[in-house]
Symmetry: C2
């Protein structure tokens, strides 16, 4: 039983069901997300395009690492936003060639501690960063304002 | 101006703003997606975890390719679902080591034509597949029922 439970816990499963035209409804962790193409490609923008969702996954994955680490450091974060820009290849398959993550903080936060948290995520914990780094040039910057 | 427009079109930008605890709100293509951790990691499951969103992006990206190609072939697809299973590494960073895509169709569909559409997506068009193939072993299977 122990072995079976372990295997089950290590597999993530999602599904994506066609609705009509270019619209799809995805099921993930019990939540539904609509995906759609833009008008130019036969869609109606009923939801986001799939490819930038990769950037959302990246932002969310590293952001959760960082906020958890800063919280353990007892730092008082007033606001925290992660922005991601992905530069697309010109030819098919249109992969992201360069990805830049901007970590933006508000609060009385020592730069070294914030940088340490970001580095721990980027170099150790963030699985999405580790995967995308194999496909794209991944860079980041940190901005702190009071 | 032409150069500027070209550069702008080739960059995808998203952002992900901290809400509270482990909850983040992402903005992508004008849509908002809530992300959250599970209770075990200090979240409340207000939205999906970030990592399986990578699998949603993969499913959506290849599914849109395939439905667009089948539509051009004038095939009558009754239903179409893409399921994705990702097997996680045991150690940090917990990347997907193996990813399997199952394409499930209902309809009177010739296997060869469906397979051709899937291959075009997997080998030529799907940018998310191309990126993840650099990080994980990516396999797929096709199921057709009437």
């Amino acid at each position: 039983m122990q072995g079976l439970i372990k295997v089950t816990m290590n597999i993530h499963s999602i599904e994506c069901k066609w609705q009509s035209e270019m619209a799809f409804a995805a099921q993930v962790n019990g939540h539904s997300i609509m995906l759609d193409a833009e008008e130019e490609f036969g869609g109606h923008n009923k939801g986001p395009r799939p490819k930038p969702l990769v950037l959302v996954a990246l932002a969310g994955c590293t952001a959760m690492d960082v906020i958890a680490i800063l919280s353990k450091m007892k730092l008082n974060v007033k606001s925290f936003t992660v922005k991601v820009d992905g530069e697309l290849a010109e030819e098919h398959p249109k992969t992201y060639q360069k990805i830049h993550i901007t970590y933006q903080f508000e609060g009385d936060l020592p730069y070294e501690k914030v940088e340490h948290a970001v580095k721990l995520s980027q170099e150790k914990y963030c699985g999405v960063s580790a995967m995308l780094r194999k496909a794209a040039e991944l860079t980041y910057s940190i901005e702190i304002s009071n």
